[in-house]
Structure formats: structure tokens, C-alpha cells
């Protein structure tokens, strides 16, 4: 096991560098268009030409590409992601402030997704081809297709018509969970439900197919033959093994959740990283945009690594394969 961990960690280093390089290439291809946009929003220069030169110098894009690249790697490794063009504070500090709401929304999202998808996936599998199965599968197909932001709009309408209340839609102060749980959940409940249901669809489909496969195995048949109750067979024997691929997906869903969060945060004015990304793009604050994408990329690389290692720990066949 230890050898596997070490080898995976070593293999991860080039992957991290690859991710950094990709982000660098995508973001530092500072085209004329991008520079012009930044320059026009940055006053304090005599005319457009001056502004463009100033922007180029500030962002360092007037140097040769490989020098920029080496500088970039050096900065990233030291934790310096540049300064925001707007607030002049370090990008990393700005990100740290915006992290808690996003993390909370992501966790709530995942909780909703798992709460909804796991029971439905199990029921759908053990009652395969019954009318419940068809109904649930139909619902799952619908879930997969519906965009999370459309679902959020529908939930808003339903909320309004039925309860007469909506979550705050304009910018309001964010209360984190310890300080004011009610207000906090009021703000986050609807986007969490909308995002969770949309994500839950893929988990449900995967869990259902995995359960179907596992239920055909010999050891499950032995459990049935021993006369165990259905609940014991399903939970103690089948579910544990069926959940392994689901765990992989759940880990990878961290990335999907972040993308979904961008849209949901923008819709419900939740001051998290997603909304920060959108406002930074609108305000042409390039260092922040780069920084966010880079941070997400690196987090994802390490999340994938963690998922792989967990997978190997749960299923010993992987380590030696």
C-alpha cells in the first residue's frame, strides 16, 4: 500500500505541473482583445496606447513567453498569485475571504445529492423493472437533462406560489452557519437543493447499475440462501461494494459542484468564489480570474489523487493490478 501511495504521489507532480501549464497557456495568451479591455477599464493613462502599454507592463505580458512561464511557475510555487487589479490586494487573500460560502454550498449540495440519489438508486435496483423502477428512471433521465439553474427557477416559482417566500435574491449580508444558522440556511437552502438534485441524477444512475451488478454476484446469492432479511443483504453485503465507484464519482463531482456553484451563486447572490469569478470577469480583473482557475485546477488534481488512493484502499485489487 505504501509503495502505491508513494508512486501515485510522484506521478502526481508532473500532473500538477501540467495543470499549471495549461492554465498559464490559456490565461496568458493575452490577446489584443483582452489587453484592450483591461486597458479601457483602467483609467489614469493618457490615451489607449499608453494604457495598453501600462497594462502589458503591469501584467508582464510584454516579455518573452518562456520568461513569463518561468516567472509564473516560481510565483505559484511560492504562493504568490499576483494582485487584484481592482483592490490591489493579493489574489490569495481575496480568495480566502470568499471561500467559506462556496465550501458550505458545496457540502450542502453533496448532502442533498447523496440523500436523494442513494435511496432512489437502491430502490430502483432492488425493484428492477417494476413500475417504481420505470418511474424513478424516468425521473432520473429528466434530472440529468434539466439545467440546475432552470430547476432553481422552477423551485423559486413553487416556493413563491406555495409558501409566499423567496430566498434573498439581491445582495444581502452572508451569515455563516455558526453565527446565524437560520438566515444562513435561508440563503443557501434553495440553491443547494437545486444543485443537489441535478448532481444526484448521475449518482443515482451509477449506483443503480452498480447495485444491479453486485446483486448478481455469488456472495449475494449466498446471503439470500442463508435466509437473511432483504435489508441485511442489501445494506451489509451489496451496498458496501456497490458504493465504491459511486465514491469515485462523488470525489470527481467536486469539480462539477464548483462549476454548478458558479451559476447558482450568481443567481442567488451568494458571496462565494463562483460569484467572485463572475464579477472579476465582468470587471476585467485578470489576475483574479487566473488565480481562481489555477486554485480550482490544483484542488481538483489533488482531489482526484485522494479519490484514487481511497479507491485503492477500499478495493485491494487495484493496488496490485
Amino acid at each position: 500500500m505504501r509503495a502505491y501511495i508513494i508512486s501515485r504521489l510522484l506521478l502526481n507532480i508532473p500532473v500538477v505541473f501540467l495543470a499549471i501549464t495549461l492554465v498559464f497557456l490559456a490565461s496568458h495568451a493575452m490577446t489584443d482583445y483582452a489587453t484592450r479591455r483591461v486597458a479601457s477599464s483602467l483609467t489614469g493613462a493618457a490615451n489607449l496606447e499608453e494604457a495598453i502599454k501600462q497594462v502589458r507592463h503591469e501584467l508582464g505580458t510584454d516579455r518573452a513567453l518562456h520568461i513569463q512561464y518561468l516567472d509564473y511557475i516560481g510565483d505559484v510555487l511560492r504562493g504568490d498569485l499576483g494582485d487584484s487589479l481592482l483592490t490591489k490586494r493579493p489574489v490569495l487573500t481575496e480568495l480566502k475571504d470568499r471561500l467559506p460560502p462556496s465550501i458550505e454550498l458545496g457540502i450542502l449540495d453533496l448532502v442533498v445529492a447523496l440523500t436523494v440519489s442513494v435511496p432512489i438508486g437502491i430502490i430502483s435496483a432492488i425493484r428492477q423493472d417494476s413500475w417504481i423502477d420505470y418511474l424513478l428512471r424516468f425521473l432520473a433521465i429528466l434530472w440529468l437533462a434539466i439545467p440546475s439553474f432552470y430547476l432553481a427557477v422552477i423551485l423559486l416559482i413553487i416556493c413563491f406560489k406555495v409558501i409566499g417566500w423567496t430566498p434573498p435574491l439581491t445582495v444581502t449580508a452572508y451569515h455563516n452557519f455558526p453565527s446565524d444558522p437560520v438566515k444562513n440556511l435561508q440563503m443557501l437552502a434553495l440553491p443547494a437543493i437545486a444543485g443537489g438534485i441535478a448532481t444526484g441524477a448521475s449518482i443515482m444512475r451509477l449506483l443503480r447499475s452498480q447495485m444491479l451488478e453486485v446483486l448478481r454476484q455469488d456472495y449475494v446469492r449466498t446471503a439470500w440462501a442463508k435466509g437473511l432479511r432483504e435489508r441485511t443483504v442489501v445494506t451489509r453485503h451489496a451496498l458496501k461494494n456497490a458504493l465504491i465507484p459511486v465514491l469515485t464519482i462523488a470525489g470527481l463531482l467536486v469539480g462539477v459542484l464548483f462549476s454548478g456553484n458558479v451559476i447558482l451563486e450568481t443567481m442567488f447572490s451568494i458571496p462565494g468564489m463562483g460569484l467572485f469569478l463572475v464579477t472579476s470577469i465582468r470587471q476585467n480583473d485578470f489576475p483574479v480570474v487566473d488565480g481562481i482557475v489555477l486554485v480550482v485546477a490544483i484542488v481538483l488534481v489533488f482531489t482526484n489523487l485522494a479519490v484514487d488512493l481511497t479507491y485503492a484502499w477500499l478495493d485491494p485489487r487495484i493496488r496490485y493490478g
Partner: protein, 319 residues
Amino acid sequence: MVGRAEEVEPSALALEWAPAKTPSLWRSLGRFMVRKPLGAFGVTVIVVLIVMAVGAPVLARYGVEETFEVPNPAYDPSSLDSGAFSPTVIDKQASPTMSHWFGTDNFGRDTYARIVWGARRTLKVGLLSLTVGTVVGILIGLTSAYFSGLVDTVVQRFMDTFQSFPALLFLLLLVTVFEPSELSLTMGLAIVSVPSISRIVRSVVLQTREMPYVEAAHLIGASHLRIMGRHILPNVMAPIIVIFTIGVGAVILAEASVSFLGFGPPGISWGQMLDTGRLFVLTSPWLALFSGGAITMAVLAFNLAGDALRDVLDPRLRM
């Protein structure tokens, strides 16, 4: 039978050994429709979408930016109130009526017309980006898996890293750096779809490479290019059709997301309509409901069609 040779009806013999007639295209289509009703539904909706996009000038009833005036109920020529000034007023946020099947939006434009015209953006971006992505993905997957070894491993790692990256973030990054035009969005979506396509192609190619007929072709001196194109490529086609169809659904969703955030190309798009519609969704939900519904139907159609195609063509891909 020993003894004298029987006179056998030549036609009887011919019938016995005649090859089976391959069913006509219509037959296969009919069978598909009956056996996979959900897939048939998906295909029908796709056809409707194509008809909508192509026949928009005829089907839409109105233009994209056309606004409509209705008599002003507060019209009072003697009053000084600005709202009573003109005899007609723009019909904003109307509910569905016979003249506006889906109602109007906040500028008084007919929602049904805008949805029909919006089908063009959806289909254009969706189909074009995935076509480009598929071609590139096939090239990469085919060559990398065929000439396996260090190159293959490196390319695979590259694709894996790229695939775990959230597509929306990458698209937003592209949008900031390049001008948000249909071209940049299409190229961005194509790039994002390449890794999953190349992975499927690669797995098929790795299997096909070991087949005896490939080895035989190699032995009689077929060039690598010929083997790849003539022997391996046809096996790739069936999974590719499935991935393509399901991929269009994902790409449509991505395009809607980017437009919803306001970073899409200028011009009419369902995602952008949904964004506008949600601003007054509590008073006049029609714009939001119908534009979001259009997006959902399109994604649903491609997903259903892709699922059904997969069941028919290659159940091994079943998830």
C-alpha cells in the same frame, strides 16, 4: 440418398441457400421506434429542433426583435401623466395568448419567435463544436492507442488532467481572454469534448489492435495508415455515434450555462433568455419557463436518443 439422382426443383435449392434480405432503412427505423420508445421520442424532438432551426423564418411568426403595441388602457390625451401620453403601449411581459403563444418578454418581444430563432444558436454551436471535437478526438485516440508506448501514456495523462478540469471554468477563462464570439465558444466546447472522445476511441482501438485480421494485414505489408483507416476505424464508429449524441446534450447545457452567465456570444440564445426571464420570474414567469423548458427538451432529446442508440449499437458502454 443412394440410387438415382432425384430431380430437384432448382428454385427450392436456391431458396435454401439464398442470403437473407437485409432489412430496408425504413424497416430498421420502424423497429427502433417500436422497441425503444424513449429513443424514438428523443429522435423526434431532435428532428423538430432541426426543423425549427432551418425553418425559423417561416415558423417563427414574428421577427426576433419585433415588438408589439397594444392599446394603452391609461390613455388620456388631456392628462399630463407620462404613462397616459401615447395611445398605444408596448405589450411587455404578456401572458400566453393566441397572438403570443408563449407570451412576451420585458421588451415586448414575442417569446415563441425568439425560442424558434434561438434553436439556430443551440444547434449550430452544439453540432459544430462536437463535430470538430470528434474529429480531433478520433485522430488523437487512434494514433495514440495504435502506436502505444510512452507517447500513449503521456497523451493519456494529458487527457486525464484535462478531463478532470471543470469545463465551465475553462470556457469562462477562454471567454475572458478571447472575444466572446460564436467561433471562440465553439472552439472552446470542441476542446473540452476532445478528452472523453479520445478515451473511448482509445479503448476500442486497444482492443481492435490485437485482432487477428489486423495482424494479418500487417503481415501482408499493409501500411500503418491503411490498417488504421481500413481495419480499425470502422470499429470505432458505433461507440462514437453514441458518444456524439450524448455529447451534444452536454455541450448544449454548457453553452446555455455560459450564455446564462452573460458571457455568451451576442445574438439570441436560450440561456440568455433564461437569464433575462429570471429577473421577473415571480411576476411573469413565461419567458423563464419556456426558455428553460426549451433547453431541457433539447438536452433530454439528445440524451434519450444517445441512450437508445447505445442500447442498440453497443451495450458495453452502458453505465
